[in-house]
């Protein structure tokens, strides 16, 4: 036994003395700390922000947003020609684009991918009712024929969330969640070890679009040879690991820990402003929350100001704002916001009584991986209980929350956030297929009017109607706007702060 033991110790110490990894350090590589294990990396069917962040390096769309949130060509060679009163989109494709498996991208791959997107992506399903056919006109041109004009089509095609990602025809044949990942992006997946890392390496035969980099659009170059996305579910560990130089980038950090970066040389904080808004979404398909009066009671009971303060601590990181669009953007409308930030437990109790609520437990889904959402949900639980709600707070892994929320029987409310998007119809809850299932006749009429309208001034007026319904019917409650804190190593250069961090055109010094 003693001999065994000392043998083990010798082994351990010997290994310690060897120190450096045997592998030579010629490759440039960075470690990116993410909020957790993303699950399957299907950019089309999975709409989590984490999956979008990771997969945008691997899969590409026909268009991409530039710095001004305008769609710019990515796999397409130019913006589509729109004819026939806005019902015929002709999309020219770039030539010489190669998939990670070595095959060349052709029009048939694009057609199959778009058809998969229309069937399987929650965002594609939004466009599907307006689409009549998607066909290959020739090997480098695709046409999309619509039944009626549909203004959000181009922004939807450019969006990397629930993306209209282009993949080989064979892969696009099935709407099942992808198991192999073959795209056209600057990086290709090398290895996915659940809960440990996702390793992607530079794709040597990548064909970049032309033009100066702007936002997600323009030329892309994989400067760093290897990207590793490391799941670090504990938010504090993400900060500490950045400070210790273990990671070169970390996402979604607790804003309260921003002061820790003061006087540090290894890393610097990055604030993205505007970033997004936090919200709690109610189940309008089954359960007690289907009653609009109960939802109004919840709206009356919540204290967004407390929730924001508990979640972010430092007021420079949030904005108590009821308008879905922030001040300074065309769709900003603070006048139509009625019922925001009430914190009126008496009114809530009265509404509950009026609704005939009998103390049915309200199942609220939350996850500690987004620290701010978790804290908001704890305050909400307190607010709702004080008003007379019975709350069953279910703490889940984020990826599990995402899969559970599509089952109407599993929940009554869940916490999430929405990143800033230029086009209101891209907002998830506008989609009747999105969990929560906001699909009242009033909302449908208002949204259809908004989507058919192409005149920008009239669209603003139409949007006000939609936002008015958001506050009257309470499909969800906006808690407030917030700015995100991430951090990058001082060794990184060329990083552009965005909602969905990307690492092409980023360099790392050794």
């Amino acid at each position: 036994m003693l001999q065994l033991k000392s043998g083990f110790t010798a082994l351990a110490f010997g290994a310690l003395l060897m120190g450096q990894p045997a592998q030579a350090q010629i490759k440039s590589a960075i470690d990116i700390a993410t909020i957790g294990e993303p699950g399957p990396l299907d950019p089309v069917t999975v709409t989590s922000d984490l999956v979008s962040i990771i997969t945008q390096h691997v899969f590409e769309t026909l268009y991409a947003f530039d710095a001004k949130w305008e769609a710019a060509p990515l796999l397409a060679s130019a913006l589509p020609t729109i004819t026939d009163g806005g019902t015929l989109y002709t999309v020219p494709l770039r030539t010489g684009v190669t998939f990670h498996d070595g095959s060349a991208m052709g029009a048939d791959d694009v057609v199959a991918s778009l058809q998969r997107w229309l069937k399987a992506s929650p965002r594609g399903k939004l466009a599907a009712p307006a689409v009549e056919t998607v066909t290959a006109k020739d090997d480098h041109t695709v046409t999309i024929k619509l039944k009626q004009p549909f203004a959000p089509l181009l922004p939807l095609l450019a969006f990397q969330n629930g993306a209209a990602a282009i993949m080989p025809k064979a892969l696009a044949a099935s709407t099942d969640t992808l198991k192999t990942y073959i795209g056209t992006g600057p990086y290709k997946i090398a290895e996915q070890k659940p809960d440990q890392y996702i390793r992607m390496v530079r794709f040597d035969r990548y064909a970049s679009p032309a033009g100066a980099p702007s936002g997600y659009a323009g030329a892309r170059k994989a400067e760093i040879e290897e990207l590793r996305f490391v799941p670090v579910p504990n938010a504090t560990t993400r900060v500490d690991g950045m400070l210790a130089g273990q990671y070169q980038f970390a996402d979604s950090l607790p804003t309260e820990l921003a002061p820790k970066f003061k006087g540090q040389t290894a890393a610097k904080p990055i604030m993205v402003k505007p970033f997004g808004w936090a919200l709690v979404i109610f189940n309008q398909k089954t359960g007690p929350m289907t009653n609009p009066v109960v939802r109004q009671a919840a709206q009356a009971a919540l204290a967004p100001e407390d929730m924001l303060l508990a979640a972010f601590g430092d007021p420079t990181f949030f904005q108590l704002e009821g308008s879905i669009y922030p001040q300074g953007t065309p769709f900003y409308d603070e006048a139509g916001v009625k019922g925001y930030n009430q914190h009126d437990q008496k009114k809530a109790a009265a509404l509950l009584k009026q609704a005939g609520y009998k103390g049915e437990p309200i199942k609220i889904l939350t996850s500690p991986q987004y620290d701010f959402l978790y804290k908001m949900s704890l305050v909400a639980q307190q607010n709702l209980q004080e008003a007379g709600f019975t709350v069953d707070l279910q703490v889940l892994d984020w990826a599990t929350l995402l899969s559970k929320r599509s089952d109407p029987a599993a929940w009554d409310a869940f916490f999430t956030f929405h990143t800033f998007v230029p086009e209101p119809s891209l907002i998830t809850i506008m989609n009747p297929a999105y969990p929560g299932w906001w699909d009242t006749p009033e909302k449908k009429a208002a949204l259809d009017a908004f989507n058919l309208e192409t005149d920008p001034t009239k669209r603003v007026a139409d949007w006000k109607t939609v936002q008015g319904l958001f506050y009257a019917q309470v499909p969800a409650i906006k808690i407030g706007a917030f700015y995100s804190l991430s951090a990058q190593s001082q060794k990184l250069s060329g990083y552009t702060p965005t909602e969905w961090p990307f690492f092409w055109n980023v360099k790392v010094s050794q």
Binding site: A12, P21, Y197, T237, D240, T400
Partner: protein
């Protein structure tokens, strides 16, 4: 010897069967239809019915149990719902880290526990003995996650001597991996050395009063020679049992420690499985870890024979 071995082995098989039965019962306590749970929310009733037949869930319970044992014997512990792969594969993927962590912690616990225990016994009743008793009792009262968090804050974050979390880069060498494991191993091993100290001390005290130790002393052997050659060798038997028990405790403790230090090991897999409602993983982990425990205890029993030839079977 052979008779003893076969009896011991038969006992082990019975315990293993009981373990499987307990896990089977726990699996049936889980809310909802296992087939529906496994398929997720997008499954059609037809899919669920098909999987029920495939898993044998439509059979009577005793038949289900037999099928279950058959699956276990062919190392089929079901599929992780979240990871969409066999539980055994997912566990094996993470076993290396957990083995290292447990091994290092046992080494720390034994290297501290045994010498300190012997010393306390030899110096019985002195201030040293009392201090050892007090400190070991304190160590056994510390929540390991609290110790872990404190170690991270002071030694990793403030002083930067150790990495904060994780297991290094994908290409990291053994040295870097071990560097990541030192703090977790200390957080896990230190509280567990307390039990070994106390057992070693008691066991040594018993032996030091035995006749043969007095005889050895009377023969004029030096005090440490007596302690090491005669007393310690015999005191080792109960101590071995405790080390066996400690290994099992440490595997359980690794669940907490791996979470505190963000180590992607078996323990972390289990805790994630709770947040993911990934029941097959939890049940698979129960089976594998308890199976290991039974095997380790069997091994410890057999070691008695090596250490003490007087043990009769």
């Amino acid at each position: 010897m052979t008779a003893y071995l076969s009896r011991r082995f038969a006992g082990m098989v019975v315990v293993m069967l009981m373990v499987a039965a307990i896990v089977f019962v726990i699996a049936r306590v889980v809310p909802g239809d296992p087939a529906a749970v496994m398929l997720g929310s997008n499954a059609t009733p037809a899919d669920v019915a098909a999987l029920r037949t495939q898993l044998g869930l439509d059979q009577p319970l005793p038949v289900q149990f037999v099928l279950y044992i058959r699956d276990i014997l062919s190392f089929n512990l079901g599929n992780s719902i979240f990871l969409n792969r066999p539980v055994v594969d997912a566990m094996l993927d993470r076993a290396e880290l957990t083995s290292w962590l447990t091994g290092l912690s046992v080494a720390i616990a034994v290297l501290i526990g045994v010498p300190v225990g012997v010393l306390a016994a030899v110096r019985r009743g002195t201030l040293l003995d009392q201090a050892v008793t007090a400190v070991s009792m304190l160590a056994a009262s510390l929540p390991s996650f609290w110790v872990g968090l404190t170690l991270i804050e002071y030694l990793a974050v403030r002083l930067g001597w150790f990495p904060v979390a994780g297991y290094g880069n994908p290409g990291a060498g053994l040295g870097e991996r071990l560097h990541h494991l030192i703090l977790p191993a200390v957080a896990l091993g230190l509280p567990n050395s307390a039990l070994i100290i106390r057992f070693t001390r008691t066991s040594m005290l018993d032996v030091l009063h035995e006749d043969y130790v007095r005889t050895a002393r009377a023969k004029g052997l030096g005090p440490w020679a007596v302690i090491i050659k005669h007393a310690f060798r015999n005191a080792l038997i109960p101590v071995l049992t405790v080390i066996g028990l400690t290994i099992a405790t440490l595997i359980g403790g690794a669940i907490v420690t791996e979470t505190v230090f963000g180590l992607p090991g078996v323990g972390n897999l289990i805790v994630s499985a709770v947040l993911r409602r990934d029941y097959p993983v939890i049940q698979g982990a129960l089976l594998i870890i308890s199976g290991l425990y039974v095997l380790i205890n069997m091994a410890v029993d057999l070691l008695y024979a090596v250490v003490d030839p007087r043990v009769r079977y």
